[in-house]
Symmetry: C2
């Protein structure tokens, strides 16, 4: 099939990173073609109608230091609502379920002291990790030899502190602690400004939700692209030579002078590159898998758990449910519980089908919040592993050894090809905010080169 | 393009695994179509003309307990020659180069005792790892949380013992110790029958070479396939439904009732599967990258190092050369040194081009074996990372967490699709012998199902 379009820049991926790159380039007067495999924009943000409103089955929250995404929301007139955090939260420690208030669970004094010390130590280590080049940290090799799981096994003795950290790692990466390089974790903490900003509701990454859903950001960024946005076009092959780049899909070829690839590393590896990607870039993409995440949202006539003094937040270290949040309105409206299956819990449930998953979640919620949780009025779910253009969520992780063997390739351009995506960010990597940063940075690289 | 062929079974990959599967199936009276991306058979074995003879730029050695590959060689009339091991070998420990005889380097007494203890401990741990299901080992999660690098850092104190183990891991996996899960390493040791069988020349995996080269095994297995072997056909997509499987290439489609995929996991992920692979299988392929390996063989008029009492074997813990073997004939013929760049050393050199690599290797050999090593009469090299149908060598590795999160998917069939390849073996996984086992096993699965 012949060429579909000719532009200054082709952008592959219409998530926040790709769409922000397109906006920067268009504002600088460059012509841009965005090519997206899905029939929608938004990537790992995905807002769906549910229970008379909408709900985010993908990226959901924004935090107060995520200045890029907050500024964009403000500019686009998208309001934010606070994540409700009042009441008792629940955390499974060993066999027991404990109730607590705030971010730090009610552990015994020894576990609590140990947890606070571990957080302090991790924050101090994270400050030694350069956000632009974690592989340059003084102790990079030693830390990249370890997984978070091994570090916690060796350094944290109390069950309560260990379970708390494991629950946090699972929530952050949708991965088991033993899958994630300690160096990668420290880098991620560094990019977020600390562990507490990552984990907290108030003051942290879960502070507010975008009213009307997170996918709106992408939808609004995409406005005006019109035929410059090609949806439903999986990119099979990308070639470059002295003249430019060509992006091949089953429905035509898109040509440009430069290319921005705004898809996560594990999917970059599945594109047929001509010429082949440099070896270290290819090896990097082999070493950055994505986490395992299934979201199930249940709706109730009202948020009955609030009456009993529960926040709706729960962290469980065994499946099927790993994490729960109350995502209903602060006042009025139906009760909404957002349940995450994460890591092993998600992998155990992915092949069982939506009905079995929903039943398992509802049973688990009943155990947490009592019989009324067993009878939701509506249920919606999204298995990100089954999504052919994600094959997991929420974020690409560095396996042990990945950054110190191949980290230089994370955002190094290859000829006319530039890399965006939240995994390439240096502030709030892994979040919507990081995606926007990466799009701006990649666009600037292209503008400098054109 | 229309269907190219219709067979009982389509086999993707004409390495030893795929070709052995094809042989078993044909002998059972089934029609088979083998589809291969490269313009040659042999996969990660590749024999090239060099210095008036041939040399293996891929898999090279066979050992005495590798009964499948030895039986096949014997049946095909391919002789084996002993790997020469006489003389002093060299090993870099810290800044120093030490000479020693046999497999265990000349370390100080404390390091030697520690090394022997570490080997004993690893062998004992490996015996607790089931070859068919390493994720079922009693301590699987703890071991999969650790990398080999972290284990050695924590358990081995002397520099000499640590460097020796690191050199062995690099030689075995073409990877840095911090890239490889301890559980995966233990499983690999289990499949080989112990550390010493993996590392030794006499009695071990490096005992003999195939006269005329290892690729012959595949060439001979492929004889008689004729048009049932399609070379130069990269597989882009594979679909299956109730009726059968279809393998799509740019030059036609191959249909069958069953399919055997005999390519390593990281490349499996790059095929467009319809329907998509089950989530856990996909996540497994994301978590099993392949090592980094470049081989450079230098030829000299005669093996001058032997005159000075050197075996030609050397292990260096920093680049550019990681490992050297004398692969000349025991008596007569030119001197041949086979140098491996492995792991970080390989990644550091991959983008520098063959001339720079050869110069670096020759300088390093000069440092090891004196000035005559600086003037080879001929040089040949192969960068497996640059090979588009390998993107690394020698073997797919389990990253930390991979086996205990996704290990059940290693050889579980998916509908009509069965998995072969040396990474799926249970004896001598990672070797030619394991490839043959995997091909036999996958073929038997198919015969049972047809």
């Amino acid at each position: 099939m012949g060429a579909h379009s000719q532009s200054d820049v082709v952008v592959v991926g219409a998530g926040l990173a790709g769409l922000m790159a397109a906006r920067v380039l268009r504002r600088a007067g460059r012509s841009v073609q965005v090519v997206e495999a899905r029939d929608r924009v938004g990537g790992r943000t995905f807002t769906r109608p549910f229970a008379g409103d909408v709900v985010d089955v993908g990226g959901t929250w924004v935090g107060p230091t995520q200045t890029r995404v907050l500024a964009l929301a403000q500019e686009l007139g998208i309001a934010t609502d606070p994540q409700r955090a009042e009441g008792k939260s629940l955390m499974q420690v060993g066999e027991r379920m404990r109730a607590y208030r705030g971010t730090i669970p009610a552990l015994n004094v020894i576990a609590l002291i140990e947890l606070q010390r571990a957080i302090g130590r991790i924050d101090r280590m994270a400050r030694q990790v350069p956000a632009h080049s974690p592989q340059s940290a003084p102790r990079a090799r030693a830390w990249d030899s370890l997984t978070v799981g091994a570090y916690v096994d060796a350094e944290v003795r109390t069950r309560g502190a260990r379970d708390t950290i494991a629950g946090a790692v699972r929530a952050i990466f949708s991965s088991e602690p033993r899958e994630v390089s300690l160096l990668y974790f420290l880098w991620y903490v560094r990019c977020a400004g600390g562990i507490m900003p990552l984990c907290e509701v108030e003051g942290g990454a879960q502070e507010r939700r975008l009213r009307g859903g997170a996918q709106q950001l992408s939808e609004r960024l995409a406005e005006g692209l019109d035929e410059r946005l090609a949806l439903g076009r999986p990119v099979r092959a990308i070639s470059q030579d002295d003249a430019g780049v060509r992006v091949h899909t089953e429905a035509g070829t898109f040509e440009g002078r430069r290319l921005i690839v705004a898809v996560p590393p594990h999917l970059c590896a599945r594109i047929d590159w001509q010429p082949a990607m440099p070896a270290v870039r290819d090896q990097l993409c082999q070493r950055m898998p994505i986490g395992a995440s299934i979201k199930v949202i249940t709706a109730y006539q009202r948020p009955f758990w609030r009456d009993a003094g529960y926040s709706g937040e729960a962290v469980c270290n065994r499946g099927p449910v790993s994490l729960v949040f109350d995502v209903g309105r602060a006042e009025g409206g139906p009760g909404l519980l957002m349940s995450f299956m994460l890591g092993d819990a998600a992998r155990a449930m992915t092949d069982r089908g939506p009905a079995a998953r929903e039943a398992a979640v509802v049973r688990a919620l009943e155990g947490l919040f009592g019989p009324p949780a067993g009878a939701p009025e509506a249920v919606i779910e999204h298995d990100w592993m089954a999504d052919p253009w994600a094959r997991g969520c929420s974020v690409g992780i560095g396996t042990a050894g990945a950054l110190t063997t191949c980290g230089d390739a994370v955002r190094a351009p290859v000829g006319r090809i530039h890399f965006a995506g939240t995994e390439t960010a240096t502030r709030w990597a892994g979040f919507m905010d990081g995606a926007l940063e990466s799009g701006e940075r990649a666009a600037q690289e292209v503008l400098d080169a054109l």
